[in-house]
Amino acid sequence: MIARETLRILTESAKYDVSCSSSGSGRKNTGGIGNGMPDGCCHSFTPDGRCVSLLKILMSNDCVFDCKYCMSRRSFGTPRASATPEEICELTVDFYKRNYIEGLFLSSAVHISPDHTMEQLVRTVKLLRTKYQFHGYVHLKGIPRADPLLVTEAAKYADRMSYNMELPSEKSLKLLAPQKDKESLFVPMKQLQRERTIFRGEKRRGFFLPAGQTTQMIVGASPERDGQILRLTQSLYRAVGLKRVYYSSYTPVVDDPLLPSAQSPALREHRLYQADWLLRFYGFDVAELVPEDEDLPLDVDPKCAWALRNLQYFPVEVNRAPLEMLLRVPGIGGKSAQKILSARRYTSLTFEHLRKMRVVLRRARHFITAGGKFCGEKNLLSVRGLLAAAEQPEQPQQLSLFDTPAARSALTGEL
């Protein structure tokens, strides 16, 4: 059994990674323990409001790299610990059995060398799948500069893998993460994408990263603008086929003249997640949302901002507008749009109907008519102010942490 202090150190060093999703895998329990739940599952919530889904832990925090923003970096004085593959497997299975977790998110600092570290990660997940017969969710972090053969081997056993971009440009990487560069991250990402496509094409039995790849970027540690970040995001979705890009507000944990001393505002991260959502689920292109050298507006969400720039499309009639257009109405999310489509088949919808169906009208009312009736503000100039005021004070919270179906609907409902 792993020592409590080891668990403490390895958890504390892993906790700033924002991805914790357990979705996307339909792995079945074939005579052991565990299976995948395609929608993911939250098992607990911590007082910071984040969901606990996976056992998120490092194999080791004893790093030979020296990324400036990281607590595990070589030149930083912090207690070090490493766990064995057996310890991790045992911990995973015993937590899983008690329904504490949905699976394992195993990452590591670069301990001894990239190959050694990757080997340890691969050994652990292999052991878990074979000796322990564990079929629950496993997310493995890829170690930059490890042997491509190890990368392929890992993907046979893991449900999801991620190489973290961390910084949105080569220049910032050079400055802040001297042992990494864009190539060391993109090359394995593309390798995995290629191999996954081939695997799927051959319709072979078994698995190869059923839940795909994700990545994470730190926002606010370096000078890139939202426009630049979101262009990278869109290309990661389109060209590298990533399932998800996470954004993490920069939090100063170490002092360094190259790093800002202030926490990056949560609202910026929130806006990036909203824009990301629009790219993935609402049919927007990044060019519609923000120019490359600008940030997203903070006063209103990116969909509102788009609508205000494109008033020629509005108001739309809820009884006739096609789904794509309903989805572009500020405040109408996927769920509300579906409800409207379904209900209007039977009757002509009024504002009263919409209210009862719990379609949030605070923002939407300025952009729709129901049965020809308009309930919004006629003076277009004041709409922006009203929309900004309609933002709930609660909102600029960690959407990064929202990765459950419930959370997703909460988000889509509001967007």
Binding site: T46, P47, K97, N99, T251, A343, K356
Partner: protein
């Protein structure tokens, strides 16, 4: 007229046949009370009539009996009335009405069903098992809705051969998977001999939960929004202490429930070996 029924499907269908033409009918599975100035009747199940009614409804809407089973699991007093109004609408239209969200009766039923399935969904995450000396798993829970047995297929699929008991301490019943069969059984008090390492795994879990939190961000409202406080009681990570709340007071519980579970108390009257 007020129609009381016992909450079962057949009693509901029997009551439905009596009540559906009466626009002022109130149908309730709540406690029978004297309501001044209103006549009331207790309807007990007539299985034959219920079968006929069920067949007819299934012809109109193949999925409506599934809806009914979920509605009747609701812990809300209004469930009988919500179901009555919904089924009345199906009878009126002579077809499924599920999509007609602009209709009060349909929307209320759909929201009620959603509350039931949402709780079942949440519990897939929030249930906490403890391991008994025999290796079987035991989880106490007190759900708002009668959903324990809905969880069996989920845990059965992932736990494979491990037997488990989901004990609804509020309703005094359990949903059991004994390794070969799934069944429901009345269960008030439970006594379990825990496995040798159970305490240590719970302690490691508490350590993990404490370490993975980022103390500089305090979002207790969000935490409580996603994981309502009523589920905290049986969680060994003790979210209440972590959130800085006062330790939860147990409102003097009825004796049989008190016996059931102190999942992380020091002196523990323990739940029974899983089994019948």
């Amino acid at each position: 007229m007020i129609y009381f029924f016992d909450g079962s499907k057949d009693a509901f269908l029997t009551a439905f046949l009596l009540a559906y033409r009466d626009q002022n009918a109130v149908l309730t599975a709540g406690n029978r009370q004297l309501v001044l100035g209103q006549e009331s009747v207790f309807v007990s199940a007539d299985h034959e009539r219920a079968r006929r009614c069920e067949r007819r409804f299934t012809e109109l809407d193949a999925r409506c009996m599934h809806d009914l089973s979920l509605l009747l699991r609701s812990g809300e007093d209004g469930r009988g009335q919500i179901a009555l109004n919904y089924f009345r609408k199906i009878a009126e239209r002579g077809r499924p009405v599920r999509g007609e969200m602009a209709e009060d009766a349909v929307r209320e039923a759909s929201e009620c069903i959603r509350r039931v399935t949402l709780e079942a969904h949440r519990l897939k995450g929030f249930v906490r098992f403890m391991e008994s000396a025999s290796g079987a798993l035991y989880a106490p829970l007190a759900p708002d809705n009668d959903v324990c047995d809905l969880l069996i297929p989920h845990f059965r699929a992932r736990l494979g051969n491990i037997p488990f008991v989901l004990h609804d301490v509020r309703r005094g019943k359990a949903a059991v998977w004994d390794g070969t069969h799934a069944f429901k059984a009345p269960l008030t008090e439970a006594e379990i001999l825990l496995s040798a390492d159970e305490d240590k795994w719970q302690a490691l879990w508490r350590q993990y939960y404490a370490s993975v939190n980022i103390p500089s961000r305090k979002r207790i409202r969000q935490m409580k929004g996603y994981m309502p406080v009523r589920y905290w009681k049986f969680m060994p990570e003790n979210p209440s202490a972590a959130a800085g709340d006062l330790p939860m007071q147990r409102a003097a519980p009825p004796a049989e429930q008190d016996g059931a579970l102190h999942p992380h108390g020091s002196s523990r009257p323990l739940p029974p070996p899983p089994g019948r």
